[in-house]
Symmetry: C2
Subunit: 185 residues, 2 copies
DNA sequence: ACCTGAACACCGTTCAAGT
DNA sequence: ACCTGAACACCGTTCAAGT
């Protein structure tokens, strides 16, 4: 006689994401997740291999949310960089998880797509990937250091981000003109 | 009758750093550290408050090593950026720990000093801190993403780092001329 | 004064037994 | 077919007892 399902993978990942946001990775215990969805810890292993893959699922959700935010930023470099940092502020633990767990190649490509479109129109196809890596590395490092408290030499961090963003966007727009199609062609 | 000391804080932190390098944070158990220095786990609590502060000590060592490497890079922006990445490659787990644990302000200032000297001569005092943050954020993000496997859209990562480094150093050198003292004055 | 065995609370995970 | 209690191995940490 089959027992009715008392939860689902979706509900489990939801609960894990909520616990992560509220208390960091150490708060995501199998027991806490189980209690949040109304079962006992061993039942979770019917839906998920182990804690590590559960956290990987949470990381995938975070990647998808970031992709949605970046896609909504409409291929504008400044808007993309601002949306990226805002995601880090809104969901710091999810942001950290993104760069801790390994995300699959397809999802990675989806997240990168809006940035690549924007850099392609800024510096041309030839250097679009290099430019995208320059921008995402900078933004990732800035937010990582900001969240980790590594920026404590004074000054306004909003202004520091603006400085870097303006500098990068301007210098990318000015660079590599020779590699872009001539204007008006 | 006093028992002779069978270990020391230095030896304990050494062992923890070695375990971190070899197996990541999860390999740094109090039992493994204790065994490595020849005592039982409870004895560690005579020298260190708890595991978290032990990892903080390891992080401080890593910060000091990075400071030494950057100081040896002699205030040249390109050399600094290359040395920074090399540290990440040589000690990936220590690198990650640096941006996970909170390092104290004095040590942070010491690590930043060589970079600030180099950016001061590149863009002038007024924007030295902004420029230092731009460079360290980029390098931190690049190495973090590289170590985490977030760069998988193809291409040579050495070349990608060169691209970013050359772009940043050149654009910083060209920018802010108005804020620097006139040449030869 | 340092070290240790024993104990405690808390993990992740497995599995036989229930329905 | 899903759920659970019980159990296991393994953590970090405390503390009374040893020397």
């Amino acid at each position: 006689m089959p027992t009715p399902e008392r939860t689902s993978l979706d509900e489990i990942v939801d609960a894990a994401a909520r616990l992560l946001d509220e208390g960091g990775p150490s708060a995501v215990t199998m027991q806490a997740v189980a209690q949040a969805v109304g079962v006992k810890a061993p039942s979770l292993y019917k839906r998920v291999r182990d804690r590590e893959t559960l956290l990987a699922r949470v990381g995938e959700r975070a990647a998808d949310e970031l992709t949605a935010r970046l896609t909504a930023a409409s291929d504008d470099l400044n808007a993309l960089l601002i949306a990226f940092r805002r995601f880090g502020h809104d969901r710091p633990e999810a942001f950290r998880l993104l760069f801790t767990t390994v995300v699959d190649a397809d999802r990675l490509a989806a997240t990168s797509a809006p940035v690549l479109r924007a850099t392609t129109s800024a510096v041309g196809e030839k250097h679009a990937l290099d430019a995208a890596r320059l921008l995402t590395a900078w933004a990732t490092g800035f937010v990582t250091m900001e969240l980790g408290g590594a920026f404590r030499l004074g000054g306004d961090l909003d202004q520091a981000y603006d400085y870097g963003r303006a500098h990068l966007v301007a210098s990318l727009s000015n660079a590599h003109d020779g590699d872009r199609p001539a204007q008006g062609s």
